[in-house]
Amino acid sequence: MKEKNQERRLGQFLVNNKAIVIFLFLAIVLSFATDNFMTKTNLLNMVRQVCVMSVMSVGFTLILASGSIDLSVGYMLGLVGVFCALISKIAGLPVILVLLFSILFGMFLGFCNAFLFLTFKMPPFIVTLSTAQIFRGVTHLLCDGTPVSGLPDAIIAIGQDYFLGIPVQIYIMVIVAVVMAVFLRSTYLGRHAIAMGGNEEAARVSGVHVKRMRYIVYIIMGACVAIAAIIMDGRVASAQPTAGAGMEMDAIAAVVIGGTPLSGGYGNVLGSVFGCLIVGLINNGLNILNVSSYWQWIAKGALIIIAIMLDVQTSSLIKATKKRKA
């Protein structure tokens, strides 16, 4: 009896987190297709490759779940990255302050986005598309368009070092994801964000402070972007002004693949992380199989479609069998 219950729970879990199933499926296919895939190094590689994106996607899960959008996060990443490098290089601040100020700066940028569209009642889509351009310009002004190198060792360590055989950035990513998952599931702020995404008007009449909640959501997104920017800086040992460009679309795609709907009202952090892993796995796998870059684009597009297709088909299959049983 108990076993059956557990079985059913596992089943339910997998239905809700189909990204995991897709991921496992692709991983199994790849490990048969090539010898180089199922090595510890390569698997760690793959996870490391999506750390930056994952941290960003975790923030984006909150944004989408709350029924909003932020298209500025790509260029925001570049801006915070350059800011971080400059304050440590020029101002020569101690590392801990550099990290703190960078995260505060990210939160500030998120705040600016929210401030603009809340105060002037504009659509977030247009506001963040525009601030993206502003961030891009400011980044290039700050560093005159050239990458900033000479980061302190501690930041490089964040992007490159290992702790107990596992890259430091993976710990950070996991911590960010866990914090966000708990936030969404078990704090009233998280529930309010989701309620607002499900039906803003209903949330408002239930006493949710919608405006304040929007600020919180965008500030948290800013913090996630800042953390991603720091990891990125460490990973490439320099701050690239063009880093992050276009990453917002990858992040949205990963989040949607992970099961969070664009329309809001539900957020699945674990799904988002696995969404990123799926994208990473496809990139890594195609490289290992030495698919040429033109075919790689095609394969990537096709694989994502097939993965989601399988997902949709299996879940309707599951529903159908369930019904027959009932």
């Binding site: 078990s186 309620a195 039906n199 209903a202 239930s206 006493g207 009202g265 019904k323």
Partner: protein, 500 residues
């Protein structure tokens, strides 16, 4: 009673939306522990007034004294904190959350344990609450899977759970069947005994006499009068609301009943309904009644192709019809006014015109493509007059209309297309008493002209008054059939419950 007994005193509240005066110097007093009815036609301004009390809208002028202090609520949060809660006319729940979560949205903090929400405690508290109110709804069900009636009950439970000083109920019974209405009566009486004041909005006057102490009437945004219920009667109230006499509530006209138009055989959807068979003839009105969740709406949805059916056969005028989508149904000559006006009925952000002509549009096209705009507008205006829709122009978005007027637009949409068979699921939900009799007259007329009509309604007087034949549904099956005049309300209720 002295001034001290007043929980709420409203003087001279006015409100206008983009230039249109909706409320004009409204007066209102509410005593502690009283149940106060607020009546008026569709668009009289009742909901707007209530939304001002809850801080959803702000008044242009006037003062609101709550427990002796002047208040200006900017957000519903402020009103809820101060002690005013509300059941909204349009369901305002969060579809992707469970019943338990919906009830406590905005108040999750009270379940905090070690800084996080204790879901078990939340669930237990919800169970306790539902049981104490004798409402049988699964607290873990997703709200989006509930029927409209279920949602309305959740709203009731939520409003009560605040333990506020004032509970506003804006048409809480519009989708409820008799048994839930009983629950509601009991709850309201209990609240009054505990010294909580209730503002009760409804278009069903019997309810007012059943539970209300006093009644205030609004007309066209103006305050008309406040009276003790005990000192007034139904015709007086109607006169005060409508501003004229109303002679007959259910103006059923005898129509010649012709040949069979629609025949449904063995319609089945596992787990929802099974073996549904019935016929409707030309000129006949078939009323369908049952309890909440009996499956009436589901059957109509299946019949109209909104949901898939597992098996069954539908014939229209002797021809078998394969109905897989509403489009097929419309092509076979069916039309359906849905129960749910927010999700399925209307397109909220679009204008009255677009909504009203949507089904009929193809017949308004030259060269099968280009819409004849002038004809479209004139037809739309005609229908608005016929249905007595109160709106600024045909181009007003229906989200800006009062609830009852939205319903009229949706009914008008289907009438315009003149189907052979019209399915009406709670057609007069939220419609005021004057227009209701107009709509009833209209339905009778249509039947007389040869339309076959299927009418689902939770209001038994309406079913009894209008139908030629009545089907009773219980747990997804047809359990009884009666001809006009052969049955009383008591018998129907018994059959709905299945009690012997």
């Amino acid at each position: 009673m002295g001034e001290n007994d007043l929980v709420l005193k409203v003087t001279d509240v006015s409100k206008s939306f983009s230039g249109v005066q909706v409320l004009n110097r409204i007066q209102f007093e509410l005593k502690k522990g009283e149940v106060h009815a607020l009546l008026g036609e569709n668009g009289a301004g009742k909901s707007t007034f209530m939304k001002i009390l809850l801080g959803i809208h702000t008044a242009d002028s006037g003062s609101i004294l709550f427990k002796g202090k002047e208040v200006h609520f900017k957000e519903p949060y402020d009103a809820l904190q101060a002690g005013i809660s509300m059941i909204h006319q349009e369901i305002s729940l969060i579809p992707n959350m469970t019943v338990a979560e919906n009830i406590w949205v905005g108040r999750e903090k009270q379940f905090y344990k070690h800084g996080f929400i204790d879901r078990k405690a939340q669930l237990a508290k919800t169970r306790e609450l539902l049981e104490s109110l004798k409402v049988s709804i699964d607290p873990q069900a997703m709200v989006k899977n509930l029927s409209i009636a279920g949602m309305q009950m959740v709203e009731l439970v939520r409003a009560v759970s605040y333990h506020s000083d004032i509970i506003i109920m804006d048409e809480p019974t519009s989708a409820l069947t008799q048994s839930e209405i009983e629950v509601l009566y009991r709850v309201v009486k209990g609240l009054a005994e505990d010294g909580i004041s209730v503002i009760f909005i409804s278009h069903k006057l019997e309810e007012v006499f059943e539970i209300c102490d006093r009644v205030t009437i609004l007309r066209d945004g103006h305050y008309i009068e406040t009276r003790e219920c005990a000192e007034t009667d139904m015709p007086t109230l109607i006169r005060l609301i409508v501003g004229r006499e109303l002679n007959q509530m259910f103006p059923k006209e005898e129509a010649p009943i012709g040949e069979e138009v629609l025949s449904v055989r063995h319609l089945c959807r596992s787990g929802v309904y099974e073996d549904i068979s019935f016929q409707v003839r030309q000129g006949e009105i078939v009323g369908i009644c049952g309890l909440m969740g009996a499956g009436r709406t589901e059957i109509m949805r299946g019949l109209f192709g909104v949901d898939p059916v597992d098996s069954g056969e539908i014939t229209v005028r002797g021809n078998r019809c394969k109905i897989r989508s509403p489009r097929d149904a419309i092509r076979c000559g069916l039309g359906m006014v849905t129960e749910d006006r927010l999700q399925l009925g209307g397109i909220r952000i679009l204008s009255i015109k677009v909504n009203m002509t949507l089904v009929y549009l193809k017949k308004l096209c030259t060269a099968k493509l280009f819409v004849r705009k002038r004809e479209e507008s004139s037809r739309c205006r005609e229908m608005m007059e016929l249905m007595e829709v109160k709106a600024a122009s045909v181009n007003q978005a229906i989200s800006q209309l009062s609830g009852g007027n939205q319903q009229k637009v949706i009914v008008g949409k289907w009438l315009m297309n003149q189907p052979d068979i019209l399915i009406l699921d709670e057609p007069t939900r939220g419609i005021d008493i004057g227009s209701k009799s107009e709509i009833h007259r209209l339905i009778s007329n249509l039947a007389k002209k040869g339309m076959a009509i299927l009418m689902v309604s939770s209001e038994l007087p309406e079913v009894l008054g209008m139908s030629d034949r009545i089907l009773v549904i219980r747990e997804g099956k047809i359990v009884a059939e009666h001809n006009r005049g052969d049955v009383s309300q008591e018998i129907l209720i018994k059959e709905e419950f299945g009690a012997s």
